[in-house]
Amino acid sequence: MPQQSVREAIRDAMSEEMRADKRVFLIGEEVADYQGAYKCSQGMVQEFGDKRVIDTPIAELGFTGIAVGAGMAGLRPIVEYMTWNFALLATDHILNSAAKTLYMSGGKVGCPIVFRGLNGVAAHVAAQHSQDFANWYMNIPGLKVVAPSNAADAKGLLKAAIRDDSPVVVLEHEVLYGHMGEVPEGDYITPIGKANVARAGTDVSIFAYSMMTVKALAAAEELAKQGISAEVVDLRSLRPLDVAAIKASVSKTHRAVVLEETWAAAGVGAEIMATISDHAWDELDAPVLRLSQLPVPLPYASNLETKCVPQVDDIVREVIALVGGQR
């Protein structure tokens, strides 16, 4: 299988779908001439022209509303946000216009649209440019939310999102854009709503998504050296959640750790913990542990920044404590 970076996988997903369906177009800041602020649309305006790869002014609320209107009217827009931090300005149209109108119209007006861009903790850019919004969007009926951790899923989930008739939020990660991985050739689709056991294990289940899956896998490697067999479940889809996969893994290992880049309060971890409580309470041999960003705006200084977000060492230490029963 060919090796690709996540950013190339994203570009290929968009390009393949745009070749297959002329209703699909890409719109956002710097997506055309600049080739994407993070080069995710490299070469696309050259291939598809500026009627289908569209640079917008810096007006997230307005261009999101225009894209949602175009989606309602029958096109299939891909909206790129330079980062999800800036999409805060557009949340009204993501939530009130895209996610709710199908219901409010009794099924008459849907919106097949993809909202994508980088999410989570980027490197050294301070609080306003570094936040994980996964829990915000997974709260919303009418939206689907995916957060890939590798190149194959970045391609497969994005292609699935573009073909989906619902509005889909795709949470990418700046640190992952350069990560290389094997991507199956051909029309590769990762179904939305299915988690992936990224590493099988027997002693403890680590639930993660996006960048946190990468850290979980590194931690599992280290834990193996110390005689602990950790199972890493890459959630991939946050809405809908793969409840069956969560239940199956907890039933196997009887211990669970949840990783998130966002803050703990009302977070992704809280939702997974509640899911485990609802569906696998009797399987637990220990309380569920969650590792989250510390509840402060992300600081700039590298020592503080590192401390703020769960790191591989933290995961290893906490899992050992959990499995050893010494917490």
Partner: protein, 366 residues
């Protein structure tokens, strides 16, 4: 009967933005007769009846609200009928693909004008399964894309980029998908909504991308309890000017003036010249919603407008003086319209509420 003259001035659309200047367009409506060619007598009779249907329908909605058969928010269109009717009257006929219409929560009358049945609208107001949204949207959320009616949006100004987005799709269909279409998106905007940032963002992109969208400001003088001069700096019809979007102020209480301006604007869009802006000078007789006692103006203020500028009385007067129609004709039409309205209310109230299974449908496409 026309207290205020039809203040219709136009920006010359062919001139570049830098040299735009307001030009005085021909006075339309009134007894000028010069515009009569737009409509023959049967059409004028039709549009008179359509406006009366809106009026009587909304009055019935108000009565049902008082009886608590309609709940929550209920924003009536009474007084503004000429805007919806006039725009629809000169919009593109269905055989040419129709046009698109989108508005705020004040959407019942626009829905009717776009071809929703009275029962579909009343059913929605009363939360019944016969409602156009199966009772799941209510007063503010009705849609029928097959008739070019795109709702029905509760967040002030949100419909503005959505309407431009529909225009974007039409242009894309023509240019990328090769589907010939000349549809125009009539995007209605409240005077209060005109102060929201997304309106300016949308004007910019609509002009930049030359989208076929007619922005129609319904200046009914108030955004809730705030009068226009207390909320808006400068004149609303000039707000397209920095973007090179031609704008006009139109007497929105005059069906003919609205129709004429709507046609002029749509022709501009259809010729590929980009967006156009119309400010409709109109008035809402009732409160912002049924729960608004409207203490920010006097009864006399409303009476004065009703007596001097009412759009339905005005068209009736024109039909009488210019076409020799008799009072008795209008009485008969009114009786028929009232009967239709009463019947739709009865049918709506007799219809069941949505079944519980409806709770779970339409969250995601099936």
């Amino acid at each position: 009967m026309q207290a205020k003259s039809a203040m219709t001035s136009a920006m010359n659309s062919a001139t570049p933005a830098s040299t735009l200047k307001a030009v005085q367009a021909a006075k339309v409506g009134g007894k000028s007769g010069g515009k009569a060619a737009l409509f023959g007598l049967p059409e004028l009779q039709h549009w008179h009846r359509v406006m009366l249907e809106m009026r009587r329908f909304e009055e019935k909605a108000a009565a049902l609200y008082q009886q608590k058969a309609i709940q929550g928010f209920c924003h009536l269109y009474i007084g503004q009928e000429a805007v919806a009717a006039g725009l629809k009257a000169t919009s593109q006929a269905d055989e040419f693909g129709g046009d698109d219409f989108i508005t705020s929560y004040r959407c019942h009358a626009l829905g009717l004008v776009c071809g929703l049945s009275m029962l579909e609208v009343m059913g929605e107001l009363t939360g019944r399964v016969v409602g156009i949204s199966k009772g799941k949207g209510g007063s503010m959320h009705m849609f029928e894309p097959s008739k070019g009616f795109w709702g029905g949006h509760g967040i002030v100004a949100a419909q503005v980029p959505l309407g431009a987005g529909i225009a974007f799709a039409r242009k894309y269909e023509a240019e990328v998908l090769g589907q010939a279409n000349t549809r125009v998106s009539f995007t209605l905007i409240g005077d209060g909504a005109m102060n929201a940032g997304q309106v300016f963002e949308t004007f910019n992109m609509a002009a930049l991308w030359q989208l076929p969208v007619v922005f129609v400001i319904e200046n009914n003088q108030y955004g809730m309890g705030t009068s226009v001069p207390r909320a808006a700096a400068g004149e609303l019809w000039k707000r397209g000017e920095p973007f090179g979007i031609p704008g006009e102020k139109v007497d929105g209480m005059d069906f003919l003036a609205v129709a004429e301006a709507g046609k002029r604007a749509a022709d501009h869009c259809r010729a590929g010249k980009g967006p156009y802006l119309l400010e409709m000078d109109t008035y809402r007789y009732r409160g912002n919603s049924m729960s608004d006692p409207a203490k920010y103006r006097t009864r006399d203020d409303v009476e004065n407008v009703r007596d001097s500028r009412d759009p339905i009385a005005r068209l009736q007067q024109q039909l009488m003086t210019e076409h020799g129609m008799k009072e008795s004709y209008f009485d008969e039409v009114d009786e028929a319209v009232k009967a239709a309205v009463n019947q739709c209310a009865e049918e709506a109230l007799a219809a069941p509420q949505p079944g519980e299974s409806e709770l779970w449908t339409d969250v995601y496409p099936s």
